[in-house]
Symmetry: C2
């Protein structure tokens, strides 16, 4: 199995669980936040999906795009489907040797970062926010939550 395929296999149980969790969020809870200083649910979900997508685009040397313009009211579950397809599409453009290519993310991180490392950072970032989202969704009243990884 190629290293790129291995990465996809390591991301997909998390993305699967994230998307299952997003499916559980009723529109009436889009503005929910557990404390006044917390990120709102809708913003947290968008941020999580968009960051992995953006890092995948950058790793594949594509310019990041705004899939959903500010104010767009596409339901979160539909956004998750679109972001997931587009994220995998970018990652699948990569060959194993591309993972060592330095990507110019100086504006974001102050340095160049190898594409493979950028993908790892995207995955870690996604797992972090998915963890937070589990707490949010439980606070919305759900008690039967998915596992933290989807088999």
């Amino acid at each position: 199995m190629s290293t790129v395929e291995q990465f996809i296999n390591s991301l997909s149980p998390h993305r699967g669980a994230l998307n299952d969790l997003i499916e559980m969020i009723d529109e009436k809870n889009y503005a929910f936040k557990p404390t006044p200083t917390s990120m709102e649910t809708e913003k947290l979900v968008n941020h999580t999906l968009k960051t992995t997508y953006t890092f995948a685009r950058l790793a594949a040397k594509q310019s990041p795009e705004d899939l959903f313009p500010e104010g767009d009211d596409t339901p979160l579950a539909e956004r998750a489907r679109v972001y997931t397809d587009e994220t995998y599409a970018s990652i699948k453009l990569l060959e194993d040797e591309d993972l060592d290519e330095l990507i110019d993310v100086k504006k974001m991180f102050g340095s160049e970062i190898p594409a493979g490392k950028l993908l790892e950072m995207a995955k870690d970032h996604e797992i972090h926010h998915k963890g937070q989202l589990f707490v949010y969704v439980r606070e919305m009243g759900h008690t039967d939550l998915p596992s933290f990884v989807k088999k």
Copy 2:
């Protein structure tokens, strides 16, 4: 840099942030949980620290040990220091070629898993629960939280 060193370098920003977060938890909040069905703070912290430690021990072919017996009242920040030292000590026993060794975790996962994969699973699991803990600590009244990775 060896693959084992790379793994330590990828875990340590998360462990650093986790430990900073644990430092912020006042003992009066050890039983805090955001909803009645959530895991209590103390249990969540113990579970997170103990799982990474256990996986590191197993990866290094050491039998897991109970560092703190049931009912022990060592403060969480002190537990975090001990678990962190012991976890790194086990990982540092590994050479790169050990990462491909199959570890018998059939009782937990129904199959053997290579040591390197087990370490990655431990890291992902830790990031997940650290994400949850960020929400918990904010709900305890803290608004100035560490970054999700410690530089």
